[in-house]
Symmetry: C2
Subunit: 385 residues, 2 copies
């Protein structure tokens, strides 16, 4: 069986629907990965994630390495057992957290030297170490450790980053073969994905994509985006990478994004996405509300539920939404929960926004399947401009 | 139909099982009321409460008066509609919060003058006002405004408090008749319960009980307990009040208590209980674990899940518990969620402790029904000493 199957290609764009086959089940793409950084999606149970239609979730190599430690999770039987999530798990390599969280960080050939944010200890995250941790976690999709510059992008620094990422990739592959293929790992079906870097420089993205293909990866993440660059720069990076990756390979866009980012990136051929936006926005009372164009193409608007105008609004947040919040409660009640600091407020808002994202992916898949994805994309462009 | 029916009396104590019939359904007693202070039980949905076996919940007159305001809730169609809880609701009178929360508080004949904690405004909560607010909330069980001293108890102050509570009760009854019986209220089935005060002075408790019976109340709360007094003082207060209240009336013990308090108060004839202990303890990682005596009588122990010793403990919190946490997760995982500050930690712990309390009430009812309540009571006494 192929690792990735394409079910339907969109006529007007590079969008497609497909299935990624993993050791813990299939993922229908385009798909969104709810983020369970430390082995739990904020205020959400595994059962709820499944019930809302999530087929895969993302956990964080760096955070789980720190606490509770990957060896503890190995003893528990792997992350699936530890957190009781039966579906596929995607783990990032820790590269992004070293980039965003470490107090001190020094990129060296051997790996990244950094200081832990919890106890001030210095440690090196090497390509091998990242693979080792992810093998202990037993995720279905593991990522190589990558190096990437922040925004604003600089050409020379970006050029170095793709070269270093390539050298690290070679070492990661060797380590992964040693542990996951020849050893006795938690999850023998774990697949290591390559990462394409190169900021928004087309020649670098092309080179990095070719490097990763040459190294033999069958699946790819596009990294170094969602680091503060404008939407157009992000799309430029995606456009430059995708044509140089095999069509029949799944492509993950790391850390992206808004509903518009996702719809547009899907139109460029991206298959999977992860982002904190739906859960983070929920914590601040910002909720997504479905909208439709005259031709019934799906779009959305947002609302800040904390506003005074919702005080006596006894209608649902989104009348077309099938989440528990929208089926059972009013805007006025949710506003009251936020106003009084009730923990249920964030729980209900998180539930709604995650369901919105998961429903969005289903709408994208349906639009591709039934040949109206271009209408949806155009409507999103109208909404955003 | 009688408001309260007794199903079974315990042979060895004053405990009994019964049913309170309300406009929103029956309550099987002895019963525990989860606390939804501001119209939501902390991090718990109405659906979950129902699913876990809660037949009634308690909301807070004072807090809802402040935010979002009882007139807003009236506009929403009452508290049942506002929070989407279809079962019976019990509202306290606000007297306890004025006692415990107000920055400034002055008890006068007209009512209690106090300063709102949110905006510094001074306001008077009178017996009539408390009834008006509760009528707007539309609860099934409303309480009269009462006056009571703190701990340590003083005789003269306590004597004044029962006299004032009686005078306030007369005014509350008149107001309740005007609004709920002769007016057009949200919930015509709302029943106003009297409150027995008198600290731990037997003669005062007796007098206060007789006052409330004389005023015509059919149901009673025992108040002024759980204010810092030792367990024995609390039980003394209950013992002094109960014999002077009609056997065929439901009796609520306000703000009580630990599992032991509840089992013992049930043995004295108390029918319903409300307390923040299960949810508050959950937030601090303290969980209840079932235990059994040699004769299979039910008891419990507690655990602090944050302790290091649970790090690699991959067993359930309570192997005999049927809550989501115990069915799906390990002690090690829950400890990890507490250690990393995941909001799911408190949600899962709250779920477990509330289910423990609701299961405890079921065990008490069963023990009374099948004539082994005395074994259960003796086992609880052993555990506590």
């Amino acid at each position: 069986m192929l690792y990735f199957e394409i079910l339907k290609k969109d006529a007007a764009s590079a969008a497609r629907t497909g299935i990624i086959h993993t050791a813990h089940g299939d993922i229908h793409t385009p798909a969104f990965l709810p983020i369970g950084t430390k082995g739990a999606v904020k205020s959400v149970t595994s059962e709820e994630l499944k019930f809302w239609g999530a087929e895969i979730m993302l956990a964080n190599t760096y955070h789980l390495w720190q606490r509770p430690g990957d060896t503890l999770i190995y003893k528990a039987g792997g992350l699936h057992e530890f957190m009781n999530w039966k579906g596929p798990i995607f783990t990032d390599s820790g590269g992004f957290q070293v980039f965003s969280l470490a107090k001190m960080r020094k990129v060296m050939e051997v790996g990244v030297l950094f200081q832990f944010d919890l106890d001030g200890r210095s440690e090196i995250l090497s390509p091998e170490k990242s693979v080792d941790i992810q093998a202990n976690l037993g995720s279905d999709i593991a990522l190589i450790l990558d190096d990437f510059p922040g925004f604003p992008f600089e050409y020379e620094r970006s050029k170095e980053s793709i070269a270093l990422t390539k050298r690290w990739a070679e070492r990661a592959i060797k380590e992964h073969q040693k542990i996951v293929i020849d050893g006795d790992p938690i999850n023998r079906g774990q697949k290591l994905w390559g990462i394409v870097q190169g900021a928004s420089f087309s020649d670098l993205r092309e080179q990095s994509a070719k490097d990763m293909v040459e190294l033999g990866f069958e699946a790819f993440a596009i990294g170094g985006v969602a680091v503060g660059e404008p939407h157009e720069e992000m799309m430029k990076a995606v456009k430059a990478a995708i044509p140089h990756l095999p069509e029949l390979s799944p492509k993950h866009l790391l850390g992206v994004g808004t509903p518009f980012d996702i719809v547009q990136a899907a139109s460029l051929g991206c298959d999977t996405f992860d982002c904190v936006i739906p859960t983070r926005e929920a914590r601040h009372g910002r909720l997504y509300v479905s909208a439709k164009s005259e031709r019934e193409a799906e779009g959305y608007s947002t609302m800040d539920i904390r506003l005074e105008k919702y005080r006596e609004d006894f209608t649902p947040v989104d009348n077309t939404c099938d989440c528990y919040l929208c089926l059972n409660h009013t805007r006025g009640y949710l506003r009251h929960l936020f106003a009084t600091g009730e923990p249920l407020a964030i729980r209900l808002a998180t539930m709604h926004n995650l369901k919105f994202y998961l429903n969005l992916m289903q709408k994208i898949r349906k639009a591709i399947s039934f040949d109206y994805f271009d209408d949806m994309l155009q409507y999103y462009k109208e909404i955003e401009t």
